[in-house]
């Protein structure tokens, strides 16, 4: 595999080239993982909740069409309008139509990974609308014209000097040096936006089929400010956000904030049923490939994801390479499953951006077998069934890789071929050490020494040892026990 500018390893190298920044990033996310751990150990029913949450999601997915229709009926009963979108383009058209038909040009938006997935902002801006992201982290990256690097902590890749410089450059802020005054500046800036907004777009954390209500969780109160002031509220959700009953909400809410930030709950957990008095609520339910995921038994559980980000906080690779190195709107372990399933060629390096340590699976609040699915994707790249692009073309790993692994398998399947390969490597390695730095081994020795090659393999040593033993016994001279 050649290293180019367009894969995870090369982008990770860029991130790591700044050891202060990458070290800070790693440590900051590790601290959040630590806060999650404290919460997980303090709540006696933690592991039981995880198991329960996974089962509820599995059940909901197994009866998704029924839950979608009952959610729709109940939401309508409260006066909400419900729209369906097959793909990102349809979603974007629906949202644009709702805004344009009302002559709306000023929109505020709280955090929604779905709208990132559909690239809603550029679409609306292209059509002359002003869209302000109101989650502070999202605002910062919006002003910098870059994507968020984490689904819960969008600006975790930035230091406060970066934020100060951005506020100054784009918003004309005075020189500010601490988080408190920077946040105060953003507060005033956004307050004006909230008061002037003509529509508020939110995501949806949970959609409850039984009640027809939607739940949005924030710490800043920005979803509520964005939807309680303008008359129009547009809520965008992937169809996997459904859960059956209100009584299921506490299972997920108790897991969500603890997993995401180590808080017991977010500052605001808002429940919307129908529009506010004098207002409108439009809910847009999006497929965009979720049906296909549901049809894949090995990857169906990736739809359980409640977008908590715990997998990113714990992943030793994510912490050291940063979210931008994944070049996917959802990065990290879950993103390394979702992105290659959608665009296998573009994201072919993501399933390999992982040591299979299993930490992600251990923290996932809904029990997705994240690292197992990454391994499955690797298998599909080599052995198939092939991953398909949207247009149907199949992705396969390079011929070189497939040939090399088949050859390696052939050698390793035989004890004498393996032994002879070992003899050859030891002979050449002792005579011509420079050979040990060729090709892939060169990448090893960029930062590492190579292990010293022993004179003889274990099997050769063992055979000599056995030859030296008295003929009749291969038994040890000591008796049993210590």
């Amino acid at each position: 595999m050649t290293v180019s500018g367009s894969d995870h390893p090369s982008r990770a190298a860029v991130f790591l080239a700044d050891p202060d920044r990458s070290g800070w990033h790693d440590n900051a996310l590790w601290q959040i993982r630590g806060r999650r751990d404290q919460r997980a150990r303090a709540l006696p029913e933690w592991e039981a909740l995880r198991a329960l949450a996974g089962r509820i999601k599995a059940h909901t997915l197994s009866e998704l069409p029924e839950y979608l229709t009952s959610f729709e009926a109940n939401a309508r009963r409260h006066g909400a309008e419900v729209h369906f979108a097959r793909d990102a383009a349809e979603h974007n058209r629906i949202v644009l139509d709702l805004l344009r038909s009302r002559g709306i040009t000023r929109v505020v938006k709280s955090k929604s990974m779905l709208t990132e997935e559909c690239r809603l902002n550029p679409w609306l801006e292209h059509h002359g609308l002003e869209v302000t992201d109101t989650d502070l982290g999202e605002l910062i990256v919006q002003l910098r014209r870059e994507p968020p690097s984490h689904i819960v902590l969008p600006a975790i890749h930035l230091r406060k000097e970066d934020v100060a410089q951005t506020f100054s450059r784009v918003l004309g802020a005075p020189p500010l040096s601490d988080a408190q005054s920077l946040t105060e500046f953003a507060r005033q800036h956004l307050r004006a936006k909230f008061l002037a907004a003509e529509a508020g777009i939110t995501g949806v954390n949970f959609a409850v089929a039984e009640t027809g209500g939607i739940v949005v969780c924030t710490n800043e109160g920005n979803a509520d400010l964005g939807t309680s002031l303008p008359a129009l509220h547009i809520a965008c959700m992937g169809m996997e956000k459904l859960i059956p009953r209100a009584a299921d909400l506490p299972v997920f809410l108790r897991l969500l904030a603890r997993s995401a930030t180590g808080q017991a709950i977010t500052a605001y957990t808002s429940h919307y049923h129908g529009p506010r008095p004098g207002g409108e609520l439009h809910i847009v339910i999006v497929d965009n490939g979720r049906s296909q995921l549901r049809a894949e038994p090995e990857h169906r559980s990736s739809l359980y994801c409640i977008r908590c980000g715990a997998c990113m906080n714990t992943c030793p690779v994510f912490r050291r390479s940063g979210g931008h190195s994944y070049a996917a709107h959802v990065p990290g372990p879950i993103g390394s499953i979702l992105a290659p399933l959608r665009k296998p060629t573009e994201h072919q390096s993501l399933p390999h951006a992982c040591t299979l340590c299993g930490s992600c699976t251990a923290v996932c609040p809904v029990g997705i077998d994240l690292h197992e699915q990454l391994l499955t994707l690797r298998r599909r790249q080599v052995d198939g069934p092939a991953l398909l692009e949207l247009n149907g073309t199949a992705y396969r790993a390079s011929t070189l890789k497939r040939t090399f692994t088949a050859l390696a398998g052939w050698v390793l399947a035989s004890s004498w071929r393996t032994a002879w390969l070992g003899v050859a490597v030891r002979f050449l390695g002792h005579r011509f050490p420079a050979l040990m730095r060729l090709g892939p081994l060169g990448r090893w020795s960029k930062t590492r020494s190579l292990p010293a090659l022993p004179l003889r393999s274990f099997h050769e040593e063992y055979a000599r040892r056995q030859a030296r033993l008295p003929r009749a016994s291969g038994r040890p001279s000591r008796g049993p026990g210590q």
Partner: protein, 266 residues
């Protein structure tokens, strides 16, 4: 699981990289088992557990290796392996390779697990007056469940950690703890070639942590992790050394000192 037979017959599975690069780890394993009365047999037709192929996605290429494992080890009731990751891979052959019935591979036990849980060894008769840090390998901890992964919350019932148990019983050995209990070392098989920068950063951070903890020796039930850390340390000229847990438990001298250890097998 306990055996009561005084001289049980056990097959030793020697991971391919230990065979080729670290034969003394195999020897130490052999000596450790024999010191506890085990009749060790080393079937010569054995090869590789297939992990390097499986982990890179070449599962079909690994299937002949699984067949060879079954034909080589099928007659043995007890199979021991001085590597958590190889043991985990073997035990998961049916799941990883698909369509295989569970066979000999399901009977593989990691070395410390075998000593403690099958032979009932409570402590090893060895003197090792050094400061040792145990690197918990991801496979040993999270796949084989030998201990309590730090991610697990309340309600998780951990299984015992036999490697740690044995180290705690070694005379004059001081076990020191890193700040991050069980973070991955960054080896990850093909990962260290495919993602060399992240791999080196992960390994270096781990070494920093062990160094801050005051360790002289980093030990583990997985030589692959130690190989990765050792190669970084050599390039960075660090004062710590690595030893496989079998080498510690038979009292090998710490690398670079030539001081003799005392104890079983020497």
């Amino acid at each position: 699981m306990r055996i009561d037979h005084p001289n049980p017959r056990v097959a030793l599975f020697v991971p391919c990289y230990i065979d080729q690069l670290y034969p003394d780890v195999g020897m130490a394993t052999l000596e450790l088992l024999e010191a506890h009365g085990v009749r060790v047999e080393v079937p010569p037709q054995q090869t590789c557990c297939g992990q390097p192929l499986i982990n890179t996605g070449a599962v079909a290429a690994a299937r002949p290796l699984a067949e060879r494992f079954e034909s080589t080890f099928g007659e043995y009731e007890h199979i021991v392996c001085p590597s958590g990751s190889c043991a985990a891979t073997l035990r998961r052959h049916p799941h990883l390779l698909g369509g295989q019935p569970a066979g000999a591979s399901g009977r593989v036990l990691e070395l410390c697990q075998f000593l403690v849980q099958v032979l009932g060894v409570e402590h090893v008769d060895v003197d090792f007056p050094h400061r040792v840090a145990l690197h918990e390998s991801c496979h040993g901890l999270r796949e084989l469940g030998l201990g309590r992964p730090s991610e697990m919350g309340a309600g998780f019932v951990p299984k015992p950690n036999p490697g740690r148990q044995l180290l705690e019983g070694v005379r004059r050995l001081t076990l020191v703890e890193p700040e991050r209990a069980d973070e991955c070392c960054g080896f990850g098989g093909s990962f260290c070639i495919v993602e060399p920068d992240v791999s080196a950063r992960m390994g270096t951070d781990r070494i920093d942590d062990f160094e801050r903890s005051g360790a002289q020796i980093i030990t583990s039930g997985d030589m692959s992790c130690l190989m990765h850390l050792a190669s970084l340390m050599a390039a960075q000229r660090r004062p710590l050394a690595v030893m496989h847990i079998a080498q510690v438990l038979v009292g090998r001298p710490i690398p670079g000192t030539g001081e003799p250890g005392t104890g079983a097998g020497r």
